[in-house]
């Protein structure tokens, strides 16, 4: 999804001289297409994310659309107050583009796991939060972020995710994206590249005779309240899956939505990190297993939740 998004940015900058991309000295090779297409619109701010973000705010307040780019925690947590005060409070047109969301950098260790970023970005007034599940969700996210004035956070994975759409598909990210029909027993909501495990889990549940649905949530804020409410009132169990803490991310957002439902609605099970660091060494797939966010490890948990 990373290359698809950079290609989109290249298309935008060709017709928008007021688009700038500032990186925090990361994106070797990855950003080459952009640098070659628009060298005057590319700035390497060095390994200095606070300054990168404040510069972006200054450029944006002068009428530009500015993307900052780095790995997971660096353009978000490292410079949180610059995002809060300089960008969000001033409604500066800055889009934070992060790669390596969740466990993407698996064996690189905890510093490189972005597992609180959705929570923190979600809490900021005016910030839109996008966590696409495949390349075509990502294209729709970057497009909406670019076309909508104000701050946005786009959390990408990397480049090897499976695509679940046909080439050229246009995803409506204002809604939760269905990858199956609605389940009457359980509906699974995922955000980000864990979608692939969600789709697998839905199939495993179906094989057990469970009526299960699978939906991706590419736009976590503002979230599709109507869509989530609809599946919550028509099934027994909602499951959220995210490479993130279960607090305040997708699971938290869904809990907020269903807490406002007056009618009978599904119970919620949130899969993710439960108030702990993902400090086991291993690949993304290994870590998903370790922290019970993979399809295989979640299957017995969900069966138990369903009383089967």
């Amino acid at each position: 999804m990373r290359d698809h998004v950079i290609s989109e940015l290249v298309e935008y900058v060709k017709r928008d001289p007021n688009l700038y991309l500032i990186c925090g000295d990361l994106g070797y090779v990855v950003l080459d297409k952009f640098r070659e297409a628009a060298p005057d619109n590319f700035i390497n701010a060095g390994i200095a994310e606070q300054n990168m973000t404040a510069l972006a705010a200054g450029l944006a307040l002068e009428g530009n659309t500015v993307f900052t780019y780095s790995i997971g925690n660096f353009p978000t947590l490292r410079c949180l107050e610059q995002i809060r005060n300089d960008v969000c409070y001033h409604n500066a047109n800055v889009k934070i583009l992060a790669v390596g969301g969740g466990f993407v950098y698996g064996n690189q260790g905890v510093t490189h796991h972005a597992t609180e970023d959705i929570a923190v970005m979600r809490a900021l007034p005016g910030m839109r939060v996008y966590v696409p599940g495949d390349a075509y969700e990502a294209i729709a996210c970057i497009k909406e972020a670019y076309e909508t004035m104000g701050p946005a956070y786009i959390r990408l994975a990397r480049n090897k995710e499976q695509n679940f759409h046909d080439e050229g598909a246009v995803v409506d990210i204002t809604k939760i994206e269905a990858y199956s029909s609605k389940g009457s027993d359980v509906n699974i909501l995922t955000t980000g590249s864990i979608l692939t495990e969600g789709i697998k889990l839905q199939k495993l549940l179906a094989e057990q005779g469970i009526s299960a649905g699978i939906f991706s949530v590419p736009r976590v804020k503002p979230i599709d309240e109507a869509g989530i409410t609809d599946i919550a009132v028509s099934s027994k169990l909602l499951v959220t899956m995210e490479e993130h803490q279960i607090s305040c991310g997708l699971g938290g957002a869904v809990a907020e939505v269903i807490s406002a439902i007056g009618d009978k609605h599904a119970k919620l099970y949130r899969a993710g990190l439960d108030n702990r660091f993902s400090d086991t060494t291993g690949s993304q797939e290994y870590l998903r297993d370790q922290y019970t966010i993979s399809a295989d490890t979640l299957l017995p948990v969900i069966m138990k939740e369903l009383g089967r």
């Binding site: 060095g46 200095a48 606070q50 300054n51 404040a54 705010a57 450029l59 300089d86 001033h90």
Partner: protein
């Protein structure tokens, strides 16, 4: 009005504002009053009747806690009515006690230190990238230079030769809990900035001729820093170099005593016209 007269008037107004609002930070307000008075009187290309003009020079107050003198100055310059200053810190007022963009003439809200100067650098970068003529100024404290984000900005602006960008450091040598030399000694401050590729000037920040000369000095293709050596609380005898006036709100006999001193000074500088 000369910059000298303006600098006394805004101290007087800030003092009255602080008294009414029970607001602190008077020492740091008074130390920077001269620099902003010269900047707004003799240097900037601005029009109070057209505060958002695209060609205007930009000023960001990065030490946002010292906004009282800036608000007073902007009112004196006609950005908004002087009587509005009575609402400093009042419920529902635009005049918050850390600088607010809601106030006409203010480019950017700050309060947390180490933010404004980097945003100003972004505005200066914009002018360089898009061949615009405006200049950008940021006012920082010397205590503020403890912040790592200041040095990230210093490195960037030096690297990118932002010669349309000037930072004024109000070097009053004190910060919240004592003397800067005892807390985080950054001397020689001007040399440090110069070593990152800045044109660095070290001047008496209460000498208006020196300030004018520094603002007008060539920047030699580099960003410029003016280390404006000042006295915290300058202009009122009992406040000078007294850390107490970082926190203390104007009160009691002190209130009138400062007014008397400032009025005498106003008469002197106005008489010199």
């Amino acid at each position: 009005m000369t910059s000298e007269e303006l600098s006394v008037r805004i101290r007087l107004r800030a003092w009255e504002m602080g008294y009414k609002a029970k607001a602190s930070h008077m020492g740091g307000n008074f130390s920077m009053a001269d620099a902003i008075s010269v900047l707004y009187t003799d240097i900037l290309n601005i029009d109070p009747k057209d505060p958002d003009n695209e060609g205007r020079d930009r000023v960001i107050l990065s030490k946002g806690h010292c906004c009282a003198v800036l608000y007073a100055l902007l009112a004196e310059k006609g950005f908004f009515p002087v009587k509005e200053l009575d609402n400093f810190g009042v419920d529902g007022s635009m005049l918050s006690c850390h600088v607010s963009k809601k106030v006409p003439g203010v480019e950017f809200s700050s309060g947390s230190l180490g933010h404004g100067a980097a945003v100003a650098a972004g505005m200066a970068l914009n002018a360089k990238l898009q061949n615009k003529d405006y200049k950008v100024y940021a006012i920082c404290g010397d205590g503020e230079c403890n912040e790592g984000s200041i040095w990230e900005m210093v490195m960037f602006a030096g690297q990118h030769k932002l010669d349309n960008f000037t930072v004024i450091i109000d070097a009053n040598k004190m910060q919240a809990m004592g003397d800067t030399k005892d807390i985080m000694n950054l001397q020689p401050l001007a040399d440090k900035w110069a070593s990152f590729g800045w044109t660095a000037l070290d001047i008496d920040g209460h000498d208006h001729d020196a300030l004018r000369a520094a603002f007008n000095a060539p920047s030699d293709g580099k960003p410029k820093v003016i280390v404006s050596n000042t006295i915290k609380g300058h202009g009122v005898s009992f406040m000078e170099n007294d850390l107490w006036w970082h926190y203390q709100i104007p009160f009691g006999d002190y209130y009138q005593k400062a007014i008397d001193e400032l009025n005498a000074e106003l008469e002197r500088v106005a008489g010199n016209r």
